[in-house]
């Protein structure tokens, strides 16, 4: 997972602090549990916490465990998928009690539930994404790359499609059975981030080329590109209104400068959100179709920042 270490927007009028939650340890990643009003966080020691939004009240927590690398919460707020470095994924109920273990064979780098929770996409190191049926505990498909694995993935809002940004520089779109529907192969450099637009018709990508590119999800042709920036893009997220998106940039050569932009897709205009040394650890759409960004500070707090509709 390449979305790292970025600070955010303390004085931007467009983003406001929803809640700040004290955490026992620094949170490495946060996963919004759909519109259930919950958010799950993975701490540095592999423990998992679930909080209610917007109160920040602790709903459950799972004890520390070695080798935890990734976390996803099901959109209905009932299940956690916990990826591990030993090539397994633990499916646990929201209280943290394990229900089954999936053997995926390689270190798990990222996890994503489909919007209806019926599929789990598992991104592993240096190999293609695997699609699993979490209810049955069976693998549905292994996706395709020319070599290596994927850097980012996202389900369409209706759950019919999965888009992957792949290290072989291609962007691929699959159906629920893992059948390849479309490929965008004009990139020379790796895409690091991918996000469906809320209507499911377009896919936003960004990567080392420093350009936000919008693809038609039906055939992966380029719909438009936003102006090139000076630094590579490590994260993109479409805002629920379908008019805006957020891109996260890092000076990858020196790993020094972190920038977050909010774009107006209609005009191509952007506004830089200010930085205050926090770290982005998650993004999602929560109850009321509100876009929420999470940052984790070194003083062991998790802050939810909310975007206006």
């Amino acid at each position: 997972m390449l979305l790292v270490a970025v600070a955010i927007c303390s004085n931007a009028q467009d983003v406001r602090k929803l809640v700040t939650i004290a955490t026992p340890l620094r949170i490495r990643s946060a996963s919004v549990c759909g519109s259930s009003g919950l958010v799950a966080g993975r701490a540095r020691d592999g423990s998992v916490y679930v909080w209610r939004l917007p109160s920040g009240e602790l709903a459950s927590n799972r004890s520390a465990e070695d080798g935890v690398t990734s976390l996803a919460c099901s959109p209905d707020g009932k299940w956690l998928a916990i990826g591990k470095g030993d090539g397994s994924v633990i499916l646990a109920d929201i209280s943290g009690k394990p229900a089954k273990t999936l053997a995926v064979g390689r270190r798990v780098s990222d996890l994503a539930f489909s919007p209806d929770g019926s599929l789990l996409a598992v991104s592993v190191d240096e190999a293609p994404v695997q699609l699993w049926d979490p209810a049955q505990g069976t693998r549905v498909a292994v996706l395709k790359t020319d070599f290596s694995g994927s850097t980012s993935m996202d389900f369409s809002p209706d759950g019919a499609w999965l888009a992957t940004a792949d290290a072989d520089t291609a962007v691929r779109i699959y159906d629920r059975n893992g059948k390849l529907k479309a490929t965008y192969s004009d990139l020379l450099l790796e895409p690091f981030a991918i996000s469906f637009m809320p209507d499911g018709k377009d896919v936003v990508i960004g990567g080392v080329d420093c350009i936000v590119t919008i693809l038609d999800a039906a055939d992966a042709h380029v719909v438009r590109q936003l102006p090139k920036q000076s630094d590579p893009i490590f994260g993109v997220a479409a805002l629920p209104d379908g008019m805006g998106l957020v891109s996260v940039h890092i000076d990858a050569a020196r790993l020094e400068k972190f920038t977050t932009f909010m774009w107006d897709i209609r005009t191509g205009g952007r506004r830089e959100l200010s930085i205050d040394s926090a770290h982005i650890v998650g993004y999602g759409t929560t109850a009321g179709r509100k876009a929420v960004l999470f940052t984790a500070d070194s003083d062991s707090t998790l802050t939810a920042w909310i975007f206006p509709n």
Binding site: E126, F147, T169, D209
Partner: protein, 207 residues
């Protein structure tokens, strides 16, 4: 018609050309023979890294006149695990400049090479610097050849300061996944025209 090793062994044993000191069946001997023919271990894989770029130029001269940094020449050969040469493999390499910076706008210190009919390849470059997010100096490799699994790996250098002169002892100070990928460096030439030379053999698995 292809004759299997098993058939050849059985025939040779029947003719007395091959004898076994133990009372072993030809099939057992054939399996042992096959096993022993895995004479080269696969090159350990390593991460692709975030700066791969397609359509790199075919020139094996990555270093241009006047480039700062220690000149470097890397040579090697591509094999399968039985030790057979894999001819004409495609070898894509990319690295930082001597300061540890990748060129993502152009193709400096990037190349797409073709091994020759004997599986041999070579390129001239400079010793890469230390990229800020990594511990070790390294050169990325993506090797492809028909009938073989793509090999993604990295070349590391025994002279890297992180190993403090003893990569056997200090291997874990670095971020190479395998000691095998840390190659000896030989200084070649005279003080006025010196360069570092490294040999890096590549062993691929079959599909």
């Amino acid at each position: 018609m292809l004759i299997s090793r098993r058939d050849v062994l059985a025939k040779c044993m029947a003719l007395g050309v091959v004898t076994s000191t133990a009372n072993l069946l030809p099939s057992t001997l054939a399996e042992a023979w096959d096993h022993n023919e895995i004479i080269r271990q696969l090159t350990p894989p390593d991460q692709l890294g975030p700066f791969y770029k397609r359509r790199a130029p075919g020139s094996n001269a990555l270093r241009e006149a006047g480039d700062p940094g220690m000149p470097l020449v890397v040579t090697g050969q591509v094999f399968d695990t039985r030790g057979s040469v894999i001819p004409e493999a495609t070898i894509e390499i990319w690295q930082t400049d001597h300061l540890g910076l990748y060129d993502v706008d152009g193709y400096r210190y990037r190349a797409r090479l073709a091994a020759n009919a004997e599986g041999k390849y070579d390129f001239s470059s400079v010793m890469p610097g230390h990229y800020p997010a990594r511990v070790c100096q390294h050169i990325h490799y993506l090797v492809t050849a028909r009938g073989h699994k793509p090999l993604i790996t990295q070349l590391y250098f025994a002279t890297d300061p992180v190993f403090d002169g003893d990569p056997d002892r200090n291997f874990k100070h670095g971020d190479s996944p395998s000691r095998e990928l840390i190659r000896p460096v030989t200084l070649v030439g005279d003080p006025k025209d010196i360069h570092a030379a490294v040999q890096f053999e590549l062993v691929m698995g079959v599909l």
